[in-house]
């Protein structure tokens, strides 16, 4: 029954959307109704699927690289005070730069293919993953560390057996955020310069006043993101009670 509320809410939103279109009589190249969008989606399903696969590939590779880099950075920061002093300010500084501004540069450096989009996704998720996991690693319950000290523990094993497992729920939160941001990163990359991917499809259909197709691509991206989030959430909830 947990599925019912979101489905009901979606239906309600669709009805409101259709009502706005019908009541205002707005032209379909400005705002197509949900029916038209679904029709456009069905007619172009193979094209959309092809582009969606490209975007999905960028997202997944971006997630894998971004999370790996984020985890490695957090571990490095958590274990070395020198690393914290040196890297933390730079990390925060780079986060204040708008990644959108970097997108054209990435295309210039890495070309119009897959890698400039992957780099974009990596850039956008690197910080939330690093920051969430690092926070978790620094917030180990002090009692555990007291106990470890009286046991003459080796810091490396304390990290592995206590600090990392205690921080896994925080890492889970970071990875769930990454699942939301990574699609945005990939699509920004596609907007700036690409011939394939949902972002590219949106730009193309917008340029040809095929608003219904643009909406169809956008909805596909939305559905893709939700599915990705649900899968990642399911996986990361298990991190909390994993055995080491």
């Amino acid at each position: 029954m947990k599925l019912f509320p979101p489905i009901a809410a979606t239906f309600f939103a669709l009805i409101v959307w259709q009502l706005i279109v019908t009541l205002t009589g707005v032209q379909k190249f400005i705002l197509p109704g949900p029916g038209l969008v679904v029709e456009a989606w069905w007619q172009n399903r193979s094209v959309i699927a092809e582009h969606a696969l490209v975007t999905l590939k960028e997202i997944l590779i971006g997630m894998a690289i971004g999370c790996t880099l984020g985890i490695a950075t957090a571990l490095q920061l958590a274990t070395s005070k020198t690393a914290r002093t040196l890297v933390q300010p730079i990390l925060v500084f780079t986060q204040s730069l708008p990644v959108f501004a970097l997108a054209p540069m990435l295309t210039l450096w890495l070309g119009f293919g897959l890698w400039s989009k992957i780099a974009m996704a990596v850039l956008i998720i690197y910080f939330p993953v690093t920051s969430a996991f690092f926070d978790g690693l620094m917030r180990t319950p002090p009692g555990f560390l007291d106990l470890a000290k009286t046991m003459q523990a080796n810091p490396r094993y304390v990290l592995w057996h206590i600090r990392v497992p205690a921080a896994l729920p925080s890492l889970g939160a970071g990875v769930r955020l990454a699942a939301v941001y990574a699609p945005i990163g990939a699509v920004i990359g596609e907007w700036v310069g690409a011939s394939r991917g949902l972002g590219a499809l949106m730009i193309m259909s917008n340029g040809r006043a095929k608003t219904d197709l643009m909406f169809a691509a956008m909805l596909t991206l939305g559905v893709l993101s939700v599915l990705l989030y649900v899968c990642v959430a399911k996986l990361t909830r298990r991190l909390g009670d994993r055995e080491t």
């Binding site: 106990l147 003459q152 080796n154 206590i162 497992p165």
Partner: protein, 242 residues
């Protein structure tokens, strides 16, 4: 386990320039239970943490010595009010935690023996969340014993348990820790009266030694001497804190 040494603690502690406790001198007799009884905030936990060289936030000015002149802090096992069990690890892994944190293999014979003596055989593969408060504290006790250290520091180890479980845990601890030098920090006069070979009441004015009952520990909860000692301790706590 090597022979348990006696320990002497002498000194004062300040926090931010204010005295946490006045100069005091505490002796833990070798192989005996010493109870440090006091209300909240008198610094009794700080004394225990200083012995273990755990962070206290206080400035300590004094000395801590073992009668055999070896260092104290690396010969202590520590047990707190919170059981400090790792929620993601099984009972077995929690008990053997020390070895894993040192990168050593756990002594499986000793582990088996402790599981048996602490009545934990049926719970080996369970996680802490599946255990009752008393069972969790038994795991914590087994973990403390697994370390096989001559000096045992107990910081209100049983105060979160219900009355009958607490008594059972006191009996078990007294039996299993026999022959070790034990310091129990507690705010429960009844616990001190049952377990202490030596009892010290700690108040802002300093330490007051009290004569424990003559019976061997653990003393019967309903023995008249235990109850008299308990009420004397309580009266002393109230007088000294007033």
């Amino acid at each position: 386990m090597s022979d348990a040494p006696g320990v002497t603690f002498q000194g004062e502690a300040t926090i931010g320039g204010k005295a946490l406790f006045a100069p005091l001198s505490l002796t833990l007799d070798a192989g005996r239970w010493t109870c440090l009884l006091g209300g909240s905030g008198v610094g009794k936990t700080t004394v225990l943490r200083l012995l273990a060289e755990l962070p206290t936030g206080a400035n300590f000015n004094g000395t801590i010595q073992a009668t055999d002149t070896h260092a104290v802090a690396d010969r202590v096992a520590y047990m707190a009010q919170s059981d400090l069990l790792l929620p993601w690890a099984t009972v077995e892994k929690n008990i053997a935690l020390g070895a894993r944190l040192r990168g050593q293999a756990a002594d499986t014979d000793r582990l088996e023996q402790l599981l048996e003596r602490c009545g934990l055989h049926d719970h080996v593969g369970k996680r802490p969340a599946e255990l009752s408060g008393g069972q969790r504290q038994r795991v914590a006790l087994a973990r403390t014993l697994m370390e096989d250290k001559p000096i045992i520091l107990l910081d209100e180890p049983f105060s979160a348990l219900d009355a009958q479980t607490r008594v059972a845990m006191q009996d078990l601890a007294a039996e299993l820790l026999e022959g070790r030098t034990v310091l129990v920090v507690t705010h429960d006069p009844g616990e001190a009266a049952r377990l202490g070979h030596a009892i010290h009441v700690m108040t802002p004015l300093g330490l007051t030694p009290c004569v424990p009952p003559a019976a061997p520990v653990p003393r019967a909860v309903d023995a008249i001497e235990t109850l008299t000692c308990q009420s004397n301790l309580l009266r002393l706590l109230m007088e000294k804190s007033a």
